[in-house]
């Protein structure tokens, strides 16, 4: 997993609320058995016509936003299906951080496993950053995970909360499974005790 420290980049404004993972990556692209290559189909049905032509109005098709690294989104981003293909598609496109007032639980967790930082901020902060994002290439937003701040192009800075363990893993690009494997003796003893206490399980 790629490490995440600080990024400065263009942010795409997506104020629509309840952007679900079916929108982020429609089902026909879930048939892959790989993690890579989904960026071209990110937001597919919002981004392309049925015959595959780009819809010019869609934010990521606009010249200013083709290189976006951040999305500033409406409430409850990533709701619906648990598909990790959603963060895979975002990452493959080049998105490293999504900022919103709220995220769906599974999507939020999936982001951290893929080097993407989801940031929860209050409505007024998201509104400020949304306005900034609408300036396109004229505004760059900086996300600093180490110091837990998002800074708009006018220098306004917003502090955000992040779970200490998730932050540690993201900054160091750590693999969860490797970390858990270090606790294998605790798992062994739990299993032994569990087999005695709840033999049906």
């Amino acid at each position: 997993m790629d490490k995440f420290t600080t990024i400065t980049g263009i942010a795409a404004p997506m104020p629509l609320v309840n952007i679900d993972t079916d929108m982020i990556i429609p089902k026909q692209f879930l048939k892959t058995i790989k993690r890579s290559g989904l960026g071209v189909n990110l937001f597919d049905e919002m981004r392309y016509t049925q015959d595959g032509k780009e819809i010019p109005d869609f934010v990521l098709n606009q010249p200013a936003y083709r290189e976006s690294q951040i999305i500033v989104a409406g409430d409850n981003f990533g709701c619906g299906s648990s598909r990790e293909h959603a963060p895979w598609a975002l990452l493959d496109f080049g998105i490293r951080s999504v900022i919103s007032t709220s995220f769906a639980d599974i999507f939020y967790n999936n982001c951290f496993k893929n080097g993407i930082l989801p940031i929860i901020l209050p409505q007024d902060a998201v509104d400020h950053l949304m306005d900034d994002a609408k300036k396109g290439a004229n505004a760059r937003i900086t996300v600093d995970l180490e110091n837990q701040t998002v800074t708009a192009s006018d220098g306004t800075s917003f502090a955000f909360e992040v779970d200490a363990f998730k932050k540690h893993c993201l900054i160091n690009g750590l693999d969860d499974i490797g970390l858990t494997m270090e606790k294998v003796s605790a798992i062994d003893s739990f299993e032994k005790q569990n087999a005695a206490a709840r033999p049906w399980a």
């Binding site: 679900d20 049925q50 599974i106 798992i187 569990n194």
Partner: protein, 482 residues
């Protein structure tokens, strides 16, 4: 035989059902409160697992507990005859073949399409007795919430977490908050478990449960059958909750008893003793409480493209201006996408298709309920209908009970088991602009096929829409019959 582990609180503080299940599964707690939670059952399907198995292969890791890992293909599989030997769509075929290979190579429990027990993973788990009270159950699928109906802590996970569970039989978790959803009193005629779960989401919104595990309780929940309870918990995720739970009771034990993988003999007795301790203690703390009177719930449908867009069938299509904040734009987008006119009666909305099935409503009682309405009736001209049983065993039972014949006589297609049109990964899809009365769980844009329009409702409401060709108040049909 050791004594079953006591569920007596470690402290004197009263605990919720969620607290109790959580406490009994903590393997390790870090200083910052991050826990390693033991997973009793890991359900696996073909869409969210290939990258996880590939990860194991690349790192030389094994599946830690293959006997607790249950795999079944459901999302991609066609629901037509001949699928045992060939799947036309190449990518679907590759994915199903990958599960086949992974299941055999890693030695996990497996129900291939050739097995009568194959079906939607969330229907197969309970049916085979894999899902039991007090367990932790995960699957790379958000509708894992279904299993909460047994008083099991069950939720969806991403593919990276699937790999983590395969390798370690644990999950890294922080505890959620407790939320109580109480449905008091009795339901009125024509109101079902589906109406309860939709009405709750209509009230709380799709993010209302975010950060919480919901415990559903109250007389109306206790009165539901196990299958109805599964319908309620199934859509907890649509309200944003990590999981939904219902405390196990005699109905739960009766449902589990005798299932192939339920305990037998002395183990059964020990299990029931333990399960009887799985309830929320008097005075336990809930961070959020929602109460709805059962009699206030009407038969409902969704009008928009979010499961929170719920209205009683007697209502009219809303105006975007009825909403606030970011929902105004979202509502206008939904109205446009759904091809509706604000102010029109919902009962005037014509449908082109009817879908009965899914992990929400693909069980035998759902089929019985729908068939009860359809018996001796025909689908309206021009409507296409599809019934997709949740498993091969549900299908067989429905055939034995004569339900299949009722559906076919009414003009429905009688299909093989799978997820089917609920997410349209297989050939069962809506055409652009086609409108469907569906018993499934998501009305998102494009969910059932690009441009397809989905109205969510109960099986009896879907059957009513099939008969009339438009969204219909089931109580009108029931009055005709009476």
């Amino acid at each position: 035989m050791p004594e079953p582990k006591s569920t007596a609180p470690k402290s004197a503080a009263p605990r919720t059902l969620y607290d109790k299940i959580w406490d009994d599964h903590v393997v390790h707690t870090s200083e910052d409160g991050t826990c390693l939670l033991y997973i009793d059952r890991h359900l696996v399907h073909e869409v969210t697992s290939p990258q996880a198995f590939e990860g194991l292969r690349m790192t030389g890791r094994k599946v830690r507990a293959p006997e607790k890992t249950i795999a079944v293909p459901d999302h991609n599989v066609p629901t037509t005859e001949g699928r045992e030997t060939h799947i036309d769509n190449e990518e679907s075929r590759i994915q199903v073949n990958a599960l086949d290979r992974n299941a055999r190579e890693f030695g996990v429990v497996y129900y291939p399409v050739t097995d009568i027990r194959q079906g939607i993973v969330h229907i197969v788990g309970p049916e085979q007795g894999w899902t039991l009270p007090g367990m932790t159950v995960v699957c790379g699928d958000s509708h894992t919430a279904t299993h909460g109906a047994f008083g099991a802590l069950a939720h969806g996970i991403g593919t990276s977490e699937v790999e983590h569970v395969l390798a370690t039989q644990t999950l890294i978790q922080k505890k959620s908050k407790n939320m109580k959803v109480e449905i008091t009193g009795k339901l009125l005629p024509g109101v079902t478990a589906k109406d309860i779960t939709l009405a709750v989401i209509g009230k709380t919104g799709t993010a209302g449960g975010t950060g919480y595990v919901i415990e559903y309780c109250g007389e109306a929940i206790r009165d539901l059958s196990m299958e109805g309870r599964m319908t309620v918990c199934n859509m907890a995720i649509e309200g944003g909750a990590r999981a939904g739970l219902i405390a196990p009771d005699e109905k739960t034990f009766a449902y589990c008893m005798g299932r192939p993988h339920a305990p037998k003999g002395a183990k059964w007795e020990a299990a029931v003793t333990y399960w009887k301790g799985l309830f929320t203690d008097e005075g336990a703390h809930f961070d959020k409480v929602i109460t709805i009177k059962g009699e206030d719930i009407a038969p409902v449908v969704t009008w928009g493209t979010s499961p929170e867009d719920v209205l009683p069938i007697t209502a009219t299509v809303p105006f975007a201006a009825d909403f606030q904040g970011g929902k105004i734009e979202a509502a206008q987008r939904s109205i446009d996408y759904m091809g509706l006119t604000p102010g029109m009666k919902l009962t005037d909305v014509k449908v082109d298709a009817v879908f009965i099935g899914s992990c929400t409503n693909g069980r035998i009682e759902d089929l019985r309920a729908a068939a009860g309405i359809l018996k001796g009736r025909k689908m309206a001209p021009g409507v296409r209908g599809m019934v997709v049983p949740g498993s091969g065993l549900v299908r067989l039972q429905a055939e034995e009970e004569g339900l299949a014949q009722i559906f076919m006589d009414a003009g429905f297609e009688w299909r093989l088991a799978g997820c089917s049109m609920c997410l349209g990964m297989n050939p069962d899809q809506l055409a652009p602009g086609e409108r469907c009365a569906a018993t499934s769980n998501r009305n998102f844009e494009g969910r059932m096929g690009r441009g397809g329009r989905t109205h969510l409702m109960s099986p009896i409401m879907a059957a009513a829409a099939a008969i009339t060709g438009h969204l219909t108040d089931i109580r009108d049909i029931m009055a005709e019959t009476a």
